[in-house]
Each structure stands twice: as structure tokens, then as C-alpha cells.
Point group: C2
């Protein structure tokens, strides 16, 4: 078996089959990511070539079950699963208490009275905490009717701190009082003359740990069914959100964000245990897509997913589907609601993630020789996290 050079990479000659040529070509194209290649010796081209030659020789001997382990080693190296996520996927971080805790999602009724909404949310959070919840998730736009005319009126200056944001102030107070982590659904945020659909994550000391602005705005037009354009008033956020808390590494998306599988895939690659999607699907897409999408994100990424919707108000301008739900990494529903106001609880155990990934090792089965998903912010020389 002879090798020749393309650029400065050894590539096997044309007597090889088409599939091996694909591997060689992919080795060449991986040079587009020199920074990544330098990070890990596993990715070094000559290492890939060595694996490749070993694999080709061993596979030519392959006649049955006795070569099982050789074949599996070959898969792991030849098909470059580690290149399917760039930068490579991070391992799950250690979670406190072995990653076991009780989660609550408060499917709140929302009114036009902002102060009443805040007081009501506080009460429901307190009750959930008293029932043992350590992570409490609120709905999208829980302090405000979901409408473009309401967003500017109800918006708060979160960066101005608790004196300028009564909603954040409540979240901070009740989190500290009850010693719970809160993924504070979302509220309209005013910042620099723009409006955002923003989630605040508050830790058990009442500190604002992260702020996430919805990155995919809800602009859809299904004639006769549902038409909404958040971009009439809102500006999309500039980045994703993963935050380490007492209840693990939490990722946040808001409602329409759940339609974009890339986002959940990046979150899993960033080592998140759970993705929280405050959201308010509607009476058209809710029945068809709400449960489907959260199960798909959970199963594809072998990760926990929780959604939290406002309760349904049939007299509202925008009628929410409700059905807040908690899904485990195998796509099984741990808790779910109907459309009325309620709080759902689920016992979370992050060891389920390891178990499912061991049973079905999707990450090491990906084909980095066929596709790469790039996390632009992590991959960026200026803004890398």
C-alpha cells in the first residue's frame, strides 16, 4: 500500500475504494480547522492515517464476529466522530448531589396586571420550593400578556439591576429566601433602545447568574391559523446561554428557539445536562409540534428537556397551548400538564444521561467525515468561551 502527498498530507493512492478515498479527502478538509487540530493529538492527520491503514488491513481480514473489537476501534477512528462537533463536545460536568433533585415548572396564569403577575409568580415559586423543588422554571412572558403591543409597556431594564426590574427583584428575593435556582421564564427587556425576550437565571443566593435573549424570533404566518411577528417589536439576542448552577449545567432557549435543532446540539456539545425552554406555543402548532419537538431535542441529544408555558386563557389575544412538560434523555415524559394553571414536578437524575449514552453511544457513532457542526462563538478567536 503506497501513499502519496496532497498538499502536505499523505493520502492513499487510487487503488483504494471510493469509501476510503472519502476518508482521505476528509482528512485533507479537516485542515480548515488548524486550531482545533492542535488542541488534541487524536486529531493529528498522521494519527488519522495510522488508524486508517490499521483499519484497512484489519477490515480486509474481517470474516465474522471474532473481529468485533477491531471493527469498533476502526469505526471510532476512521469516521472521525470527534470532528462532528467543532470544537469537540465537552464531557458532562460533575453535578452536586449526584445530579439528583426535584424540578418544578410553574404553568402560570398571566393577566394584564404586572404587579399581580409578579406577586402570583412569587407565591407559586414559594409553594413549589416548599414542596421540595430545587430548580424552578417559569413560562415565557410570565409578567406580561403575549402581544407586541404589551412588550414595550411591560419591559424592564434588567441590566439596571433589581431597582429597575421589579420582576428580577422578585426572582432574586424568592430564590435567596427559599434557596432555589430559578430559570425565570422570560420577560420583555429594554436595553439600549431595543426590546428583547429575555430569560434571567438566578441562583440560590439570589444572584443573576445568566441572562439569555431569545435568538430565533417567532415570525410565522399560517393564514387563517396563526400569524405573529415578534420582530415587529423585538430584537434577537446575540448568543447562546449555558450556565453552571447547583442543579447542574443548564442551557436556555425560548419557545421558537426549540425549532432549531442546531441550538440544542450545540448545548449538548457544551456539556449541558438540561435545556429549559420557557415557551408559549399556540393552538395550531401546539398540538402538532410542542411535545414532538421537546422529545426530539431530548432523544437526539440524550439530554433532559423541560418546557414551561403560561396557562391557557381563551380570552387572550394569543391563546397559549399550555402542556408544560419534562422529558428524560430517552424521550420519556416524566411530568406533563394540561392547559390549566398548575405546577408540575419531576425527580431528575442526571445519571440517566450517562446510562442512555452508554446504551446508545450516538456521540461516538457520528460521522465527522460527513458533517461538522460548528459552534461559532466557541470556535471564534475573539469571543471563544
Amino acid at each position: 500500500m503506497r501513499a502519496r502527498l496532497i498538499g502536505n498530507l499523505p493520502v492513499l493512492n487510487s487503488s483504494l475504494t471510493r469509501s476510503t478515498q472519502v476518508v482521505a479527502a476528509s482528512t485533507l478538509s479537516s485542515l480548515s480547522y488548524p486550531r482545533l487540530l492542535c488542541k488534541s493529538s487524536d486529531h493529528h492527520p498522521t494519527g488519522i492515517l495510522r488508524h486508517f491503514i490499521t483499519t484497512s488491513l484489519s477490515q480486509s481480514l474481517l470474516r465474522g464476529r471474532t473481529y468485533k473489537s477491531t471493527s469498533l476501534v476502526a469505526m471510532a477512528s476512521t469516521f472521525q466522530p470527534e470532528l462532528a462537533r467543532q470544537p469537540p463536545a465537552q464531557p458532562l460536568p460533575q453535578a452536586t448531589n449526584g445530579g439528583k433533585y426535584k424540578l418544578a415548572a410553574c404553568q402560570l396564569s398571566v393577566t394584564a396586571d404586572k404587579q399581580a403577575n409578579i406577586a402570583h409568580a412569587r407565591e407559586k415559586i414559594q409553594v413549589a420550593a416548599d414542596q421540595g423543588a430545587q430548580l424552578i422554571v417559569l413560562p415565557e412572558m410570565w409578567n406580561c400578556p403575549y402581544s407586541n403591543s404589551s412588550f414595550p409597556t411591560y419591559a424592564e431594564d434588567i441590566d439596571g439591576g433589581i431597582t429597575n426590574s421589579p420582576s428580577l427583584a422578585m426572582l432574586s428575593e424568592v430564590a435567596r429566601e427559599k434557596k432555589v435556582t430559578i430559570v425565570g421564564g422570560s420577560i420583555p427587556e429594554r436595553s439600549g433602545g431595543k426590546l428583547y425576550n429575555t430569560c434571567c437565571v438566578v441562583d440560590k443566593n439570589g444572584e443573576l447568574k445568566a441572562k439569555f435573549r431569545k435568538v430565533h424570533l417567532f415570525d410565522i404566518d399560517i393564514p387563517g391559523k396563526i400569524t405573529f411577528k415578534e420582530s415587529d417589536t423585538l430584537t434577537p439576542g446575540g448568543g447562546l446561554c449555558v450556565v453552571d448552577t447547583d442543579v447542574g449545567r443548564i442551557a436556555v432557549g425560548i419557545c421558537y428557539d426549540i425549532r432549531f435543532p442546531e441550538m440544542a446540539m450545540l448545548y449538548a456539545a457544551r456539556g449541558a445536562h438540561i435545556i429549559c425552554y420557557p415557551g408559549a406555543f399556540n393552538m395550531t402548532t401546539g398540538p402538532l409540534h410542542w411535545e414532538l419537538l421537546q422529545k426530539a431535542r431530548a432523544v437526539d441529544n440524550q439530554i433532559f428537556v423541560v418546557t414551561c408555558s403560561p396557562a391557557r386563557d381563551d380570552h387572550a389575544g394569543y391563546v397559549a397551548w399550555g402542556h408544560s412538560t419534562v422529558v428524560d434523555p430517552f424521550g420519556e415524559i416524566l411530568a406533563t400538564a394540561e392547559h390549566k394553571e398548575t405546577t408540575i414536578f419531576a425527580d431528575i437524575d442526571y445519571s440517566e444521561i450517562d446510562k442512555r449514552r452508554l446504551n446508545m453511544p450516538i456521540e461516538s457513532q457520528r460521522r465527522g467525515d460527513l458533517y461538522h457542526l460548528i459552534d461559532v462563538a466557541r470556535n471564534d478567536p475573539i469571543n471563544s468561551s
Copy 2:
């Protein structure tokens, strides 16, 4: 508003907000793909910058509904949706007959008698064609029991042509006889001393239009439930498969391939109308994931999906879930089966794809400033298609 240079790219200065800095940095990182940037003037960095400045100025004026169209233009340029797929997504090709036709999926009973399996499949294809089907899909491993001990025995040399592959010969004959396109499920293929799980796509003239080898092998171990390792005997394929036919642009995946969302995303970006997944899920993952995954691939990519399973045989070594299904681009089920042998039919209309993409323009809402999905083969200087 002043601009400064980073590398050879103009980047706006630090008086801008964080989110605008992210855009600028992303513009820089897009230089990793110079070949792509050169392909389309829309991607030229100065073009992006021009859009960006326009956007920033217009957004600073944004006060409400009157700026709707400006805001939408701003989203399309600032957040670089065209970079979310690399190379950029291809438009849907024109389909004959306006993309309207009848599809059939034959959920076949499979026995240990290969000649009987071939004769039986021929008969079911003839019946489906006589009932008006123009695209006929068969199950995974329809000529062979699904087991590692069977694959070597039942394997055929497809590259050797119809004289060496009785299964291909039958597909070719019946396709020409009935003037139908057949996505021939899969059979074990022997090639170069290796075995593959391979799908043949045959056109209405009986020509072998494409051959696809399963790229993600089914290696899972759920103790006490289902353990299988295709890699004990099979070798994964080296590339994806999209083929233009009389019934549109067809993409193919086989069974476990459906678990990898990247593959369906690449197929949609290659302009496929429909993804055909011959597959044989089992009694553990079938009830939980089979329908879920096909609906998710359909909805996320706004594309048709059809799955075709063998009928269930409770006495087989591997018991298939059955439930062959056709899903439309909104995730609605057009036709589905229980577990027994049957043929399901669906009236396909590719204009549904355009309609759903118009209602919910996910492609133009993607965030190319946050994530890029690379199609390695299309992006490759040697193997680009």
C-alpha cells in the same frame, strides 16, 4: 460610526453593543470558508458589513410596527442565515407533474427463503403499481432475516450487475415492467471482501440510479431489552445519497441513520423533496422513537419523510416494530401501518414543502452567526458534488 480593521476585514468599533460585536466577530470567522465566500456575492464580507451598518442604523430608529419590513430585512442580513448551511442550501428542484404522485410503502413479511422473499416483493410491488403508485419503497433487509449470521449468506454483489444480484435483477425488471421508481429498501451487499447494508434506487426504466450504504451502523446495547452490533459483520458506507428521479429528488437513509439529525439536515440542504428511510426498529425503541424521529426530521427540515419496515414476525430472532409511515412537511401523518404485512399509500404533493416553508421560513431564520453545518463532501475540493 467608525470602522477599524481586524485582519483584512473592517469591524465596527467598540462603542457598539455586545450583540453587534458578535456579528462582527462572526464575519471574521466566516473567512475560514473562502471558497464559499467567493461563490456568491451575497457572502462577501463587505456586503455583510454594508447590510450590518444599514441594519444598525435602521434598528436604532425602530419604534414599532411601522418598521416591520426594515426589521425583517435586517434579520436576514445581520444574522447570516445563508451561512448556517455550508455550502449554502440548494433550492428545491422542479419536479415532474408538479410534484404530485402516489407513493406506496410495502411492509413485507420476510422469511428465511431468499427466492421466496424476492418473488413476494415482486408481487407486492406489482400490486402497488397497479393501484397507481409511482414511487414504491421497500423495507430494510427485505430479502434476508435481520441477523448478523444471515447477512454474509444472503449478500449479493450489486456492482456485479443483475446477473450477480437476483434482488437487483427483480427490482430492475419490475420497475421497467410497471414504469415505477423503486427505493429498494436494503439488502446485504458484498463488495471488496466487505459487507454493507445497501439500498438500490431503480428508475422506471429499470436502471440502477443510485446505491446507498447505511452510514451509521446499528450498534446498541440496552441490557435486557435490545442488543445488536451490525459492525460485527457490516462496514458503514462512505457517503450520503441524493438522487433525481421522475418523482423528485429522493434522499436515502437506512434505519439507525434516522437518529442522526445532521444527515436529514444535509439532505434538506441538498434540495431533497423526500427522505426515504427503510428501517427495522425493534420492540423497545420502536414504540418510543420510530414515529417521533420521522416526524422530527420532517418538521425540522420541512420535508416529506417515508419509513418502510418489515412486517413483524414474533418468532424471528429480531422482532421488527413495523409501523411504516409517511409524514408530510408539517409533521402530519399521511399514512401509517400497524405491525402486520400491508402496503400503505399516500398522495404526495411537493407544493406542501413550499407552503410550509413560506408559512414558517425557518431557513431564513437560522442563525449563521451562531452555528454552521458543513456538508463535508459538497464542501470538499476533491469530492465536491
